[in-house]
């Protein structure tokens, strides 16, 4: 048993999600990611179950663990009460903690993702918020979405939302003291430290790749290489 495995085994999602795998493939059979990406949750669970640190580190530094959509459809079907999706979540967390996420293209997406999510939660108290949902980044929002964005205040008022207003209601402004509590929770529980790790490792990696931080973040958000999908050469 290796040191990396020992650390992984501390994660409650491993305690909850990995009893003993029988490698039957029930999870892979219905995995939305397995059909699309070169991804196989059964193999990932097998590697973790092997307790082989070198193989686990390879996972932590690679693209595979970032392919899962966390739909957790695998949980329903596993005959051994495992949860491959939870195992992947524990691997991702460890990949961030150890700074290995920056070694893979899909892992490097943590920078734009964490910027978007953490800023939304800390500034607005929501994971998704109209003020930061830019049409330019979401062309699939459609012609109607563009119309909503162009007439944001009027449309939300028309639909009974309280966008940016005081008191209860949809999209209300969350009181500053509540946002301060979220910040305190971030500080106490490790979310702030995660952002620091991701900032620091991303900067190192950007230097190594010869990119400015802006270029690095844009590349991580927008670009995908031809090596991830099942139907690619």
């Amino acid at each position: 048993m290796g040191k990396i495995y020992d650390r992984l085994a501390q994660d409650y999602r491993i305690k909850e999600g990995l009893k003993a795998c029988i490698s039957c493939g029930t999870c892979t059979a219905i995995c939305p990611a397995a059909e699309f990406y070169r991804y196989n949750p059964k193999k990932i669970v097998s590697i973790v179950q092997s307790r082989d640190d070198d193989a686990i580190i390879e996972l932590l530094k690679g693209d595979q663990i970032w392919y899962c959509g966390e739909c957790l459809s695998c949980v329903t079907r596993c005959p051994r009460k495992n949860a491959p999706g939870l195992v992947v979540m524990a691997l991702r967390a460890l990949s961030i903690e150890l700074g290995y996420f920056a070694e893979s293209e899909k892992g490097r997406q943590q920078l734009p993702l964490m910027h978007a999510m953490q800023r939304n939660v800390l500034n607005y108290g929501y994971c998704v918020y109209p003020e930061t949902f830019a049409y330019e980044k979401h062309p699939e929002y459609g012609t109607v979405g563009k119309w909503v964005k162009d007439n944001q205040k009027a449309v939300y008022e028309r639909l009974g939302a309280h966008l940016g207003q005081i008191g209860p209601g949809a999209l209300r402004k969350i009181p500053q003291e509540s946002l301060d509590e979220l910040k305190a929770i971030f500080d106490v529980t490790g979310a702030t430290r995660w952002m620091e790790i991701v900032e620091e490792k991303s900067q190192e990696k950007a230097r190594e790749m010869g990119l400015t931080m802006e270029e690095y973040e844009a590349q991580a958000f927008n670009q995908t290489s031809r090596c991830h999908l099942n139907d690619e050469d």
Binding site: I22, S23, C24, G25, T26, C27, T28, A29, I30, C31, A34, E35, N40, K42, K43, T76, R77, C78, P79, R80, K81
Partner: protein, 339 residues
């Protein structure tokens, strides 16, 4: 007058043990809750590995019940300890006082509808191994149109903690291979798949059957557990599994899917165990004193087991265990009583 022994359960184990006990000079009282003797065997058409008809085994047994008192459609109402004997009261009003009781309660076929994702009882083209035997035995043709692609799902309710059955049911792998060959004979142009986790071909001639299934019948074996079954608007099925040896998810359109329902502990086990104060294991089957050394003996004096009541068994294993149980009872009854 010869000594009575109560045998509870009129399947192959109960019938065979009763015959052996009779041959040893006892009078077995054989109790069966259903209207016919023979248990699951009475429903089966042909037997692995050679495909002989089940009736060629069962009929001679049932024709040889002289000296055995047997009661069908009869259940045990109560069992009480009286000194060194057991008083067994039956639902037909009779009662017997005996020194030895043999539990040959067998197994229940796992209720395939409990594996909700396979859609048994919801999708018409999903049937069980037992349904298929009914069909083979009655000769009634299926009501479905062109049957071109057929699947067999191993381990339905076996090796499945979620379904509450952790054990391997032992007989399903070889039964699936047998049934796959049989159905291929009925539909020679059909493509037939077996979805398995491990192929457990442990008995004599089982491996030969597997070889024949591959070589002569062209059965396709896919190493992967079926994850989901669904239905299209014509009633055909989609079956999802991973071919784990290739590491790729599969989705196959099928015309018929056969679920290999496994062996679950008999539902009555708990009640009978309470009556005679013995244990069932966490799997629900009775616990013998030792699985290896004394598989027919319980922790209580005068209570014996044979057959699938103590866990999944093949028919020959069940029959030989029935003979062993008869000998164990004989030895017990011949041992001088204490005090």
């Amino acid at each position: 007058m010869s000594q009575n022994v109560v045998v509870i359960g009129g399947g192959p184990a109960g019938i065979e043990a009763s015959r052996r006990l009779r041959d040893l000079g006892y009078t077995p009282i054989l109790i069966e809750k259903t209207p016919v003797l023979g248990g699951h065997l009475a429903r089966w058409d042909r037997l692995f590995p050679e495909g002989i008809e089940a009736r060629t085994v069962l009929d001679p047994m049932v024709a040889d019940l002289d000296g055995i008192k047997y009661f069908t459609e009869t259940e045990v109402s109560s069992i009480n300890r009286l000194k060194d004997t057991w008083v067994v009261k039956l639902s037909n009003g009779l009662s017997a006082q005996v020194r030895a009781i043999l539990l040959t309660t067998g197994f229940d076929l796992f209720k395939a509808e409990k594996k909700e994702e396979y859609g048994y009882g919801i999708y018409e083209r999903v049937i069980t191994n037992a349904d298929l035997e009914d069909w083979f035995k009655s000769g009634a043709a299926p009501q479905f149109d062109a049957v071109n692609v057929i699947g067999f799902v191993h381990c339905v309710g076996s090796r499945d903690e979620k379904a509450g059955n952790r054990q391997c049911s032992k007989v399903c792998c070889v039964t699936a291979v047998k049934q796959a060959c049989e159905i291929k004979e009925k539909f020679p142009d059909a493509t037939v798949y077996c979805f398995y986790m491990d192929l457990r071909m442990f008995g004599r001639k089982y491996e030969d059957l597997y070889l024949k299934a591959q070589k002569d019948y062209g059965i396709r074996f896919v190493r992967g557990r079926v994850s989901e079954v669904s239905e299209d608007n014509d009633g055909h099925l989609f079956v999802k599994a991973e071919d784990t040896l290739f590491g790729k998810p599969l989705k196959i359109k099928m015309d018929l899917l056969v679920l290999m329902a496994g062996m679950a502990p008999a539902a009555d086990n708990h009640q009978l165990a309470r009556m005679v104060n013995i244990q069932t294991g966490e799997d629900g089957f009775y616990l013998p004193q030792s699985i290896i050394g004394s598989p027919c003996t319980s922790s209580r004096e005068g209570i014996f087991f044979a057959g699938a009541a103590t866990g999944p068994k093949t028919l020959p294993e069940t029959l030989s265990e029935a003979a062993s149980a008869a000998l164990a009872i004989d030895r017990y009854l011949k041992t001088p009583q204490k005090k």
